[in-house]
């Protein structure tokens, strides 16, 4: 849609990432390491949301597949984020099937219960957002909202790319991300700048 060759808006490192991936596809192992370092923090954050403490093991499995299949990949830096997130997601669900654990069952309820009361100001809430606390909050969301939020704000995918990873329509994913963030804001006691109505701008007519 109106993409004219300019980079899709996304992660700040997408240009560097695209260049590293292209060099890696020509066999440059140093470039592959560069791509790894750019992508891994977001991928790990996404996987922590799906499989909790098993995220590093699942990420390792995903990287074996990424390394093996790199020659198949076509796309730029933003595309590489989407491709790798898809691979990581498949490995995460394989892992969960093996564990016979559903993604939501490992939720860290305790983290949510240990929440301080609503914060008096926006800044106060956000300054105290530790990794574990943020993870506990996200894992408390319905799965579709959690994944949409993680892919958008942690992996750094745009709406259409997040939708492709999830196999859903962009409008559905946008709505899920919005609802998830709005719910997180409510749980954090952050209300300024948040409209009370859930915007259904894309009219994708979900149930």
């Amino acid at each position: 849609m109106g993409q004219t060759g300019e980079p899709r808006r996304g992660h700040a490192h997408d240009g560097e990432l695209g260049a590293a991936v292209a060099r890696a596809q020509e066999g440059d192992d140093g470039a592959f390491a560069v791509a790894y370092r750019i992508v891994q923090p977001g991928l790990l954050g996404y996987l922590r949301g799906l499989v909790g403490d098993e995220a590093e093991d699942v990420a390792s499995d995903a990287w074996l597949e990424i390394a093996r299949d790199l020659g198949r990949f076509r796309g730029d830096g933003a595309g590489f984020r989407g491709w790798t997130a898809t691979i990581a997601r498949h490995r995460a669900f394989d892992h969960l099937r093996r564990q016979r654990v559903r993604p939501r069952s490992a939720m860290l309820e305790q983290d949510v219960l240990e929440l301080p009361g609503p914060h008096s100001t926006h800044d106060q809430a956000l300054e105290s957002l530790s990794t574990e606390y943020a993870l506990g909050l996200v894992r408390g969301l319905p799965q579709d909202q959690a994944e949409a939020v993680l892919l958008r704000v942690v992996v750094g995918l745009d709406g259409p790319a997040a939708a492709r990873v999830l196999g859903k329509r962009p409008g559905a994913v946008r709505t899920a991300a919005y609802r998830g963030l709005k719910r997180l804001a409510r749980e954090l006691g952050v209300t300024d700048g948040v409209t009370e109505d859930v915007r259904e701008r894309d009219g994708d007519g979900h149930g």
Binding site: F32, A33, G42, G71, V138, V149, R152, V153, G156, V194
Partner: protein, 66 residues
């Protein structure tokens, strides 16, 4: 940080960026990186990276041609 669009879409300025930063936190494990790079070298040297592109591997922006 990949969050400008999320901010705009959600009307929640600041939250997506801070959430993203909090969840990307943590050291990249050097040993895990070495394993990934070793797997890359093994695949490269075995020639398996010449496998054909499947539809799920094609992430080129739509309309970019080629």
């Amino acid at each position: 940080m990949g969050t400008d669009m999320a901010d705009r879409d959600t009307g929640l300025p600041g939250l997506p960026g801070l959430l993203g930063a909090a969840l990307r936190e943590g050291d990249v494990d050097g040993e895990a990186e070495r394993r990934a790079v070793a797997a890359f070298r093994a695949a490269r040297d075995a020639g398996v990276q010449a496998a054909p592109t499947r539809s799920q591997d094609d992430w080129r922006p739509r309309g970019s041609g080629s």
